[in-house]
């Protein structure tokens, strides 16, 4: 039985971690190509060592390879803007790990099923993957008036792309909490902590509710969502039991759900503290698997 052929475009840290994740999974997808633009890049060398075909000709190399059906784009927002129309024209599904957001935001535990027929999906941001599910879990029980998320990541795990474009990260994450999480309004605040040894990625979600809610039902919903995310990000967990506090807000004293979450990486390529990078690649892999299964089903193959 054939598997769906996938390529990783971008042989940097994210692409390399994703490669190891795909290689250790026996699923509906097979990694057929690692594409970079620097022949000396460590990612290409590691791919070659792992027996994966490589190209240093970027998108051109991908388009010249036969039967690639899915491309994970782990380059940059600017590069993805150029890649997206070419992939579309070639009939290839793009899973976009950059902030370009050409296609709809996807969080596997929330809305992947809605987008299996589109040809380009966006993975939001690491903190978007971590916090949007929690906002959504609260909102499906008790409508959220305002959500505020604080994403704390270790300094060593924040690459130059994010550093030069912190606004994109901030705005994209807030946008996802609103559009996918369901909050009426939302803010996201990234914090970079340079402590040594590096801290584990951790997120705090404040969800201000319109009115009092059934705390047990909210907690149950959060617990269920955490279990759903854990299916593809095993190190995703609550740090403590969430609770509902009453907070001063511009809209008066309102019940506010407070959720503390941390994400421990699987250690595939990045160290365990870099849960922020791990959740991106793990979520992207999950999206790839779902697309690949869907393509196989459409092709009449039962998986």
């Amino acid at each position: 039985m054939g598997k769906i052929k996938a390529a990783i475009l971008g042989s940097g840290n994210i692409g390399t971690d994703l490669m190891y994740k795909i290689l250790k999974t026996d699923g509906a997808m097979e990694l057929a190509l690692m594409a970079g633009i620097d022949p000396e890049s460590e990612g290409l060398k590691r791919a070659a060592e792992a027996g994966i075909s490589t190209t240093d000709r970027g998108i051109d190399g991908v388009l010249e390879t036969e039967d690639i059906r899915i491309v994970f784009d782990a380059t940059s927002a600017k590069a993805h803007m150029a890649h997206a129309p070419r992939l579309k024209e070639a009939g290839i599904i793009a899973i976009d790990l950059t902030p370009a957001a050409v296609g709809p935001y996807v969080v596997p535990a929330i809305n992947l099923g809605d987008h299996l027929e589109v040809d380009n999906v966006n993975m939001i941001s690491c903190s978007g993957q971590a916090t949007t599910p929690l906002v959504y879990a609260v909102n499906r029980i008790a409508p959220v008036k305002y959500s505020e998320i604080i994403a704390t990541i270790s300094s060593v795990s924040v690459g130059p792309g994010t550093r030069q474009n912190l606004d994109e990260f901030t705005m994209t994450t807030a946008n996802a909490c609103q559009k996918i999480g369901g909050a009426d309004t939302a803010r996201a605040v990234p914090i970079i902590n340079s402590a040594e040894p590096p801290i584990m990625m951790n997120n705090t979600v404040y969800a201000v509710l319109h009115k009092e809610a059934d705390e047990a039902a909210v907690l149950e919903s959060i617990g269920k969502m955490v279990a759903d995310v854990q299916r593809y990000v095993p190190g995703y967990r609550l740090k403590a039991k969430p609770y509902i506090d009453v907070r001063h807000t511009p809209w008066g004293e309102l019940p506010t759900v407070i959720i503390l979450n941390e994400v421990e990486g699987a250690g595939d390529f990045f160290p365990n503290y870099a849960g922020n990078l791990d959740i991106m690649t793990a979520a992207a892999q999950q999206v790839g698997e779902q697309f690949a299964s869907h393509l196989l089903k459409k092709g009449g193959v039962i998986v």
């Binding site: 300094s155 030069q164 902590n193 403590a240 907070r247």
Partner: protein, 336 residues
């Protein structure tokens, strides 16, 4: 010795101490007094900078833009600055602040993260603003690291870089070392911002000036986060005694501090247990009221929370860790 340029940040750092409750009328009256006293730069914004009004930092009781509007309207010959913390603020706020008529943007990051500031310095310059880089929690890094970070900010377009003692943890010798090294490494101005946790806000500021600082910060009556800052009126009095002529009217400052600012204090800003512990453990000063709230809620000693935050190396903006620490300490207590 050359007179340093003084920035009064009562209306920004002081915002923390009153839980961000300054009114437009209060801002108008303080700014007009500071302008009358010829204080060259007056900082106005939420305590955590533009866009700082959040659950995490505390919501402002009044719209921040109405405060900035009043500041600009009453600035006289002074300049208006606003703080900007990347992540809490985004570029649209810089553009808006420039349209409201502020003169200077002070971009603040943890002192190892200068390389996130480039897009903000560029935006500030494009919007015609003067620019200052704020290296927060400077006690956590040796002078050489600060010097390298300051150089990055200079390359992005900063007009001045501050060594910021956010935790009030530095002593005169460690101030001199840091300020002198930063001064050596860049060709723009160097500044120093003090907190008073160890009773050294004035002493450290003088040490900074002796080490070459071109700019310093103060707040009227020391109103500021945690243990507060170097009182601007005391700084001017001390500089007068040192025959360093600032051109600032001491009488007007003393009257403003006494008659307008003193009445708004919400708690005695003294070197009590919590403030000393904050300086000693090297913890960000604006955590204080959030720590006290959590200590009460979870029935814990605030010092235990402060010390644990110090051990975990919490940086500016991590008020959510206070809840985390309090929950952990409570859980341990229950196990016992």
């Amino acid at each position: 010795m050359k007179a340093p340029i003084i920035t009064d940040t009562t209306l920004r750092d002081g915002s923390h101490a009153v839980s961000h409750s300054f009114s437009p009328e209060f801002v108008a009256s303080v700014v007009s007094q500071l302008a009358e006293a010829h204080v060259p730069v007056i900082e106005v914004s939420h305590g955590s900078g533009l866009g700082g009004s959040t659950i995490q930092q505390g919501f402002s009781t009044h719209d921040e833009w109405s405060l900035i509007e009043q500041a600009v309207a009453n600035k006289g010959g002074s300049k208006i600055a606003s703080l900007f913390v990347p992540g809490l603020g985004t570029r649209p706020e810089i553009i808006k602040a420039a349209e409201y008529g502020i003169d200077i943007l002070r971009v603040a990051v943890h002192c190892t993260e200068a390389d996130v500031t480039q897009q903000y310095f560029e935006q500030a310059k494009n919007s015609g603003l003067g620019t200052v880089g704020f290296l927060m929690m400077s006690h956590t890094q040796p002078a050489q690291v600060l010097a390298e970070q300051a150089k990055l900010m200079e390359s992005y377009g900063a007009d001045c870089v501050y060594v910021v003692d956010s935790a009030g943890a530095l002593v005169p010798e460690s101030v001199r070392d840091r300020v002198a090294r930063v001064k050596d490494s860049i060709s723009i101005n160097v500044g120093f911002h003090a907190h008073n946790n160890l009773g050294l806000s004035i002493g450290n500021t003088i040490a900074a000036i002796e080490a070459g600082a071109d700019q310093i910060d103060g707040t009227l009556r020391g109103l500021g986060a945690g243990a507060g800052n170097a009182p601007t009126e005391v700084l001017v009095a001390v500089l007068n005694k040192m025959n360093i002529e600032t051109g600032i009217d001491l009488t007007v400052l003393m009257d403003t501090a006494e008659e307008i600012v003193a009445p708004v204090f919400k708690y005695p800003q003294i070197l009590d247990r919590d403030n000393i512990a904050t300086g000693y453990a090297g913890v960000y000063n604006s955590f204080l009221l959030h720590v006290r709230e959590a200590a009460e809620k979870f029935n814990l000693n605030p010092v235990a929370i402060i010390e644990e935050l110090g051990r975990r190396h919490a940086v500016a903006g991590q008020e959510d860790w206070i809840i985390d620490v309090a929950q952990d300490l409570k859980a341990k207590e229950l196990v016992k």
